[in-house]
């Protein structure tokens, strides 16, 4: 992990003191509401439907046991004993008191954590693959570069007041677990034939009202230019991005209006003038940051292949869990474990203080004290010796963190929706719960294979519905909660946006519709074909026919439009 030094610690301390002063001045009536709103947002503090919400940064989803224990104690002391893992790898608290937020931030600073730039029109938490540094399919660990970007973008003098929020994601593995195609800037890292790290840079991806897949504007950028190139993009965006309409203010709108080619030329022209400025990364600095993420010294552990195989035969539940939630590690005899938060009856991503403490303990017992948060809102333990998998499984099962559904239908991504969010058209958590309840047969789920089902309560798309293989979007129809369903979205390599299947459905129709969609897939799939590739081959029609044909005539009025 990145090691804080005196500079980082002092910076955080001063930032906390600054926010405390801003809060005091606000409470004393010296700062108008609209100004304080912007100031608090830059410290992660929202005011929501029911209470304030504090979004705590977990840079690129990596934290250590001490930090997770701190999150547990904060959620116990200042909140209702639980927190929420967000789709940007952060942790959210839903019930803090405004006046106590400076104290929470001070406690976070004690363990080198903060809420800086987790909201507001600025560069947000930089995200990456939750398996970075340990994934078997990884070419290069993206975390050091995410850290360089984090430092560079923190309290940037020129880019803290952008037209709109700005999200950067990096990926260094063959399979894209960071969804780089739907970010304002997406960066694919690679090692070229001369052994040098280079970047392919995509801009203008995003979800929300106007979903878009990012366009490639620069290939093979040498690593020392990372920050100056991003600076050039942000300067073009800061100067020319629209500020008259917040729905047209994201960089994707500018890129589209200019065309990616012209936008890329403008960035290049700017970059030519600044690329040798002192923000160019020095070799020493790259080495210093990369060194913080050097793999630990893995003690040799015995080969557990045969013990594991026989345990799996004995215990089918364990076997399913290994199949779904255990990923291949770079290091022989180690494994990466996903601890799913998606259990029936619990909003996806919610974790209690007790679970947080338990995960922190396990990260030490079964690893080197490191934990990851994935954008699918799960915990990940990156360094588990294979011979301890069963032990971990039993502990996780006792804490409700062992659903064997990673990447399956019931590993739903879901926004807070109408239960918490004032912008919602419809509730989303109850829909997720109905789906989890209806599809609880593991054999069926495993047979369906990889399936991303994503739910958002409105077109702001916090639940990433556009990039779900199946996407569900809450819409408002004459004051009633309806759901629009789309198919064929994909957030990873070969990213695509889902297409709407047709008129929307009422809440009690949704689960039945999902069931029919799955039936069509099972009927049409070729040997070994996933839902997504089957859909891409056969197209929308078979799905559409099945879903609409058999509906009773009398309900069709409700689905008009």
């Amino acid at each position: 992990m990145y090691q804080y030094d005196d500079f980082d610690r002092n910076f955080l301390k001063e930032r906390v003191a600054q926010f405390r002063d801003q809060t005091d001045r606000f409470l004393a009536g010296e700062i108008p509401d609209d100004v304080f709103q912007q100031l608090r947002l830059r410290n992660g503090l929202y005011i929501q439907r029911l209470a304030p919400m504090l979004r705590i940064a977990v840079p690129y989803g990596t934290l250590n046991a001490e930090q997770l224990r701190k999150l547990a104690s904060i959620s116990r002391d200042y909140d209702k004993g639980y927190g929420h893992l967000s789709t940007r790898q952060n942790m959210q608290l839903n019930w803090p008191e405004l006046a106590e937020v400076p104290d929470i931030l001070a406690e976070l600073a004690d363990v080198n954590m903060h809420a800086i730039q987790t909201s507001g029109s600025c560069v947000r938490n930089v995200t990456t693959d939750q398996f970075a540094g340990v994934a078997a399919d990884e070419q290069i660990d993206a975390r050091p570069y995410a850290e360089m970007l984090r430092q560079w973008s923190t309290y940037h003098p020129e880019f803290e007041w952008l037209p709109r929020k700005f999200k950067i994601a990096l990926n260094g593995a063959a399979s894209d677990r960071a969804a780089i195609a739907v970010h304002d800037i997406g960066i694919q890292l690679q090692v070229d034939e001369n052994g040098r790290t280079t970047f392919d840079v995509y801009v203008g991806g995003g979800l929300g009202r106007t979903p878009a897949i990012g366009a490639l504007i620069r290939e093979n950028l040498p690593e020392k230019h990372l920050l100056t190139y991003v600076e050039a993009i942000l300067r073009v965006y800061n100067r020319y991005g629209r500020r008259d309409n917040k729905y047209k203010a994201r960089i994707k709108i500018l890129v589209k209006a200019m065309t990616p080619e012209v936008f890329g030329e403008k960035v290049d022209a700017e970059w030519d003038l600044i690329k040798d400025n002192p923000q160019e990364l020095t070799r020493d600095e790259i080495d210093r940051i990369v060194a913080c993420f050097e793999p630990p010294d893995y003690p040799a552990v015995a080969d557990a292949t045969s013990a594991l195989a026989s345990k799996r035969l004995e215990d089918p539940a364990f076997s399913r869990w290994v199949q779904q939630n255990v990923a291949e590690h770079k290091q022989p005899n180690y494994a990466i474990v996903t601890l799913s938060t998606k259990a029936t009856g619990i909003p996806p991503g919610d974790v209690t203080d007790v679970q947080m403490d338990a995960v922190a303990d396990w990260s030490e017992t079964f690893g080197f004290g490191e934990i990851r948060i994935s954008h699918e809102q799960n915990f990940v333990l990156p360094d588990v010796p294979q011979h301890q998998l069963f032990e971990l499984f039993e502990l996780a099962r006792a804490e409700g963190l062992a659903s064997a559904n990673q990447g399956l239908l019931t590993d739903v991504i879901c926004c807070p929706g109408g239960d918490y969010c004032s912008l919602a058209n419809a509730k989303s958590i109850p829909v997720a719960e109905e789906i989890l309840q209806r599809f609880d047969d593991y054999d069926y789920l495993h047979d369906l294979g990889p399936l991303d089902l994503n739910i958002s309560g409105c077109m702001n798309a916090c639940g990433h519905h556009h990039v779900g293989h199946i996407g569900i979007l809450g819409v408002d129809k004459r004051g009633d909660e309806f759901y629009q369903i789309s198919l064929g979205g994909n957030a990873t390599n070969d990213a695509s946006l889902g297409k709407i299947i047709g008129p929307s459905f009422s809440r009690n129709e949704v689960v039945g519709v999902i069931e029919r969609l799955l039936d069509v897939y099972v009927d049409y799939r070729a040997e070994g074909e996933t839902f997504l590739s089957c859909y891409r081959r056969v197209g929308m029609d078979p799905f559409k026919e099945r879903v609409y044909l058999e509906q009773p005539e009398s309900q069709s009025y409700a689905r008009a439009g």
Partner: protein, 155 residues
């Protein structure tokens, strides 16, 4: 009463901002940029979205450039200020006018602004405190081009 902060101090304002051009333009006038060629003024005011590539060289010769911030969270003036200083070598007074909130002055200051017109004396004093609230930053800026790591880790 608006109060001027220059180089972290409250000072009297020797300049006079003109919205339009009267018959007689005093020496200390800050005129709208589109009037610059009609006068001998040494100060001009501009909007944050000015196309700096067209006006940068002309502005760089002046004694004072005032950048108007139309609303509190509009960061275009920050890019404009940075570019006037770092690309066009402007060395005169760079003044922030319009919606200049104390909590924004630290950003403006690091983008090269050295003068700020605040709403009143309390705001002016707060701005001076705000600019002193953080002692160092990760990345370089107009006033400190070297990022922190180049200063602390290099030899």
């Amino acid at each position: 009463m608006p109060v001027l902060v220059k180089d972290q101090q409250i000072v009297a304002d020797p300049w006079q901002l003109l919205e339009s051009i009267p018959d007689y333009v005093p020496d200390n006038a800050i005129v709208p940029i589109n009037q610059l060629s009609n006068t001998n003024a040494n100060g001009a005011w501009v909007e944050g979205d000015l196309e700096v590539d067209d006006f940068g060289e002309e502005l760089a010769k002046l004694d004072l450039v005032a950048v108007h911030f139309p609303m509190f969270a509009d960061g275009r003036g920050l890019s404009l200020g940075s570019l006037l200083r770092s690309r066009y070598g402007f060395e005169g007074e760079l003044r922030a006018i319009g919606e200049v909130q104390p909590d924004l002055t630290p950003f403006m200051h690091r983008c090269g602004f050295d003068a700020f017109v605040l709403e009143n004396e309390l705001a002016a004093k707060t701005a001076i405190q705000c600019m002193a609230s953080m002692s160092d930053f990760y990345q370089g800026s107009v006033i400190q081009p070297e990022p922190a790591y180049r200063r602390k880790h290099s030899h």
